[in-house]
């Protein structure tokens, strides 16, 4: 290992011990520290959103609306959606893992615009504070989709603070994406050609395109709703001849691709994990890189499949249905290529790999049920039912959150410099997988039976499946709390991690754990292809992992 700067305390100087005190964190421009600021913020919002989810599931334990009032229930699912989508899912992987890893993976000292990076965190926090204000001030009850004219004229709740909060979070997301695009174009180390980029970086590049070109549309759309409430600018007002469907067009122009903001970085993580724990080069690198870009672009052509029963023209519905099937092609390539990567590998089952297995399986189910919804005749029946709820939770929770947790375990040694407890990790992964399926699989059946979404009280025949779902949710909650507990535990008591505990490819494993402030002791020069596992040999056994220091 290269000679490292040693701090006063005798430890090697790294980004964590380089400065102490609140100021050194709140004014930092180090992408790794900002990533940790994001990590804390989104974890906070994840548990707020999760708390709402638990209350929703508890309410749905019985058919009668007996736990909370209807208005309260409506606010619960609205804020569950808004918090989870805008304050957890969208920033989760890009702003935490992407922020931390992209500069290191491409051999740069930092993102192109470190101060913009910090600004984007502050914008996120302003948005978050407004969201919390909204919650404390009585919440908002429009559904996370803000459909007009309910949101613009009829709702009497805190629509404007919620919109302004989401507006800020949106601009935070735009700035993150902008920073990534410029960084990936301009900051690559010598020798780090586009064909050598890890797929994690490719996935974030595709994500950034969506963030930069999609988010502003929802920002202006929600602003117009706020202006309608404030100043009666009636762009969506039906009594002025405004078309409520126009809001839906503009909203889904962003919010459908936003699903890919959530899932693409997850795909990037899974590519890294599958290669590492199979000791294999990725199967079909170019196809995998093209597939993420393809998903990002085609993802913008399909938005009105959210509107098949909304009253759009049947011809438009036909076009959007057909285009929706085109997204399935690159998605299928991803799944098949991950599977093929494992062929003739040398597979071990550490926690990150378990999450990757979970991701591939659940994403497959989520993706295939997406085909049901893109299918016009089918969608008419299951649209706005629990089938949709189950489908997008399979993508977002089964897909994205699984990948996020897998990535957190995979890179935790790099981020914290400590190993997480492997046994607990595997247990948590198993609990999450079981809890997830028990929670959301029954909802597919509920959906086909016709239970509409966002129902506070429901007919008694739906109860059995709802009870199963609630039971699953409680298991899921345990599965999510466990990692938080042992990650925190490991920060103090975990075994110190070596630079490359997984013997993995990628520049991030060639620097110290945790990395120094400028990531590398010397500017790396890349002379190898991505995922050169043929040169790396086996993954070390747990006991073989050398203790750092």
């Amino acid at each position: 290992m290269a000679t490292a700067v040693v701090s006063d305390s005798g430890e090697r100087e790294n980004y964590l011990n380089v400065g102490h005190g609140l100021k050194s964190w709140l004014l930092t421009v180090d992408h790794k520290r900002i990533a940790l600021l994001y990590l804390m913020s989104i974890t906070f919002f994840f548990f707020i959103g999760g708390f709402f989810a638990l209350l929703i599931r508890l309410e749905l334990l019985t058919p009668a609306g007996d736990l909370v009032q209807s208005d309260t229930y409506n606010k619960l699912f609205t804020m569950h959606g808004q918090v989870m989508v805008f304050f957890f899912l969208i920033p989760a992987v890009p702003a935490v893992l992407g922020n931390f890893l992209i500069p290191i993976m491409i051999g740069a000292k930092d993102l192109a615009f470190p101060r913009v990076n910090l600004l984007s965190w502050y914008l996120f926090i302003i948005g978050g504070i407004l969201m919390i204000y909204t919650i404390l001030n009585g919440g908002v009850d429009t559904g996370w989709t803000f459909y007009t004219p309910l949101s613009s004229e009829w709702s009497k709740t805190n629509v404007i603070p919620a919109i302004v909060g989401i507006f800020f979070a949106g601009f935070s997301s735009i700035l993150t994406g902008l920073n990534f695009i410029v960084t990936i174009h301009r900051m690559r180390a010598p020798g780090m050609t586009w064909n050598r980029l890890p797929l994690f970086v490719w996935a974030h590049y595709a994500t950034s395109i969506i963030q930069v070109l999609g988010t502003p549309v929802v920002a202006i759309t929600l602003t117009l709703v706020a202006l309608e409430r404030l100043f009666h600018l009636g762009v969506f007002n039906p009594s002025l001849g405004g078309d409520p469907l126009l809001f839906q067009h503009l909203f889904w122009f962003y919010s459908h691709p936003a699903v890919y903001i959530m899932i693409l970085p997850g795909m990037g993580i899974v590519s890294e994990i599958v290669c590492c724990f199979s000791r294999k080069r990725i199967f079909g690198y170019k196809a995998m890189a093209l597939a993420v870009i393809g998903i990002a672009v085609i993802g913008f052509l399909v938005w009105a499949h959210h509107m098949f029963v909304a009253g759009i023209s049947v011809y438009a519905a036909l076009i959007f249905s057909l285009l929706s099937y085109f997204v399935a092609v690159p998605s299928a390539i991803k799944v098949f290529n991950w599977t093929a990567t494992m062929y003739k590998g040398s597979i071990t089952y550490q926690t990150p790999m378990l999450y990757a297995f979970g991701f591939v399986g659940l994403f497959t189910i989520g993706g295939l049920t997406g085909l049901f919804l893109a299918c016009l005749g089918m969608d008419v029946h299951v649209h706005d039912t629990y089938f949709v709820i189950a489908h997008f939770h399979y993508i977002m929770v089964g897909g994205m959150v699984m990948a996020y947790l897998g990535g957190m375990h995979f890179w935790w040694p790099k981020i914290s410099g400590r190993m997480y407890p492997e046994g607990w990790g595997k247990l948590a992964a198993l609990i999450v997988f079981i809890g997830f399926n028990l929670t959301f699989f029954p909802q597919f059946i509920l959906g086909y039976m016709g239970m509409p979404r966002r129902y506070h009280a429901y007919p008694a025949e739906f109860q059995i499946l709802n009870v199963l779902s609630t039971a699953g949710a409680s298991i899921l909650a345990v599965g999510y709390l466990l990692p938080m507990v042992y990650f925190l535990w490991s920060m103090r008591y975990g075994r110190p991690a070596p630079a490359n505990p997984w013997n993995a490819a990628g520049l991030e494993w060639q620097t110290h754990s945790p990395p120094p402030t400028f990531n590398f002791d010397e500017q790396p020069v890349v002379t190898w292809e991505a995922y050169d596992y043929d040169k790396l040999g086996e993954i070390p056994e747990r006991e073989e992992i050398p203790v750092a220091r």
Partner: protein, 234 residues
């Protein structure tokens, strides 16, 4: 400590290898930001397109209530301000500090003139009750109805006219907001330019602010055509 790492050349940030890399990054960043702006305004242009298509004649009628002279004046003002921006960049490239400050101030002045004229137009809308909301009232003919006998003339649907003015205020309001930001930006630049921060070696902020200003100008070129100039011939 990040701050200790500062280079001799304060303009080169620590994480860039060369000044050229830094400059290219900043320029690309600005262009990506402008792409984002295109989509931000794009949402409103989409709404405009849909309603212009649905309420063609009513939009024509409402458009004729806008003051074309003020709109054209503002277009000219913005075009002139774009020229002063170009001249400011030229001045800094040639290392003429006072000329730079002069052209930056000229840009600010033209920007303020634009906002002043815009404010005047808004005030007129308030007087004529053409501001959407409870006090909105509209009783104007559809285009080309003056030629008909009085009994057969037809009036524009006031609701659709209100929709036009909703879009008018949303679009020009967002544009004016961008102008305000631009004026603030140029004020800051003028201050630092006066202090001699920008040299032929380092003037990226001026160049990027210029890109922003030109973009806002382009948005106005379209707004002028779409809001002020429709159905004038009738």
């Amino acid at each position: 400590m990040v701050d200790e790492h500062a280079h001799e050349n304060p303009a080169l940030l620590h994480h860039f290898a060369t000044k050229e890399q830094q400059k290219n990054a900043a320029s690309l960043g600005m262009w990506v930001f402008l792409a984002q702006e295109v989509m931000f305004f794009g949402g409103m242009f989409c709404a405009y397109l849909v309603y212009r298509y649905k309420y063609f004649a009513d939009f024509g009628s409402a458009s004729q209530q806008l003051d074309i002279r003020l709109g054209a004046t503002n277009t000219v003002v913005l075009i002139c301000s774009s020229l002063t921006v170009v001249l400011a960049i030229r001045a800094v490239q040639l290392g003429k500090r006072m000329a730079l400050v002069f052209w930056l101030l000229a840009t600010i002045l033209l920007g303020l003139a634009f906002l002043g004229i815009k404010a005047n137009e808004y005030a007129e809308k308030f007087e004529k009750h053409h501001v959407p909301g409870a006090s909105f009232s509209y009783h104007e003919l559809l285009p080309s109805q003056e030629k008909l006998p009085a009994a057969e003339r037809h009036y524009a649907n006031p609701h659709h006219a209100e929709m036009f003015f909703s879009l008018y205020f949303a679009m020009t309001g967002m544009h004016a907001l961008h102008m305000v930001v631009g004026v603030g930006l140029f004020g800051t630049l003028a201050f630092f330019a006066w202090r001699g921060k920008y040299t032929p070696d380092y003037y990226t902020p001026i160049e990027n602010a210029g890109l922003y200003w030109h973009f806002v100008d382009i948005v106005w070129i379209y707004l002028f055509g779409l809001l002020y100039l429709i159905d004038r011939h009738r």
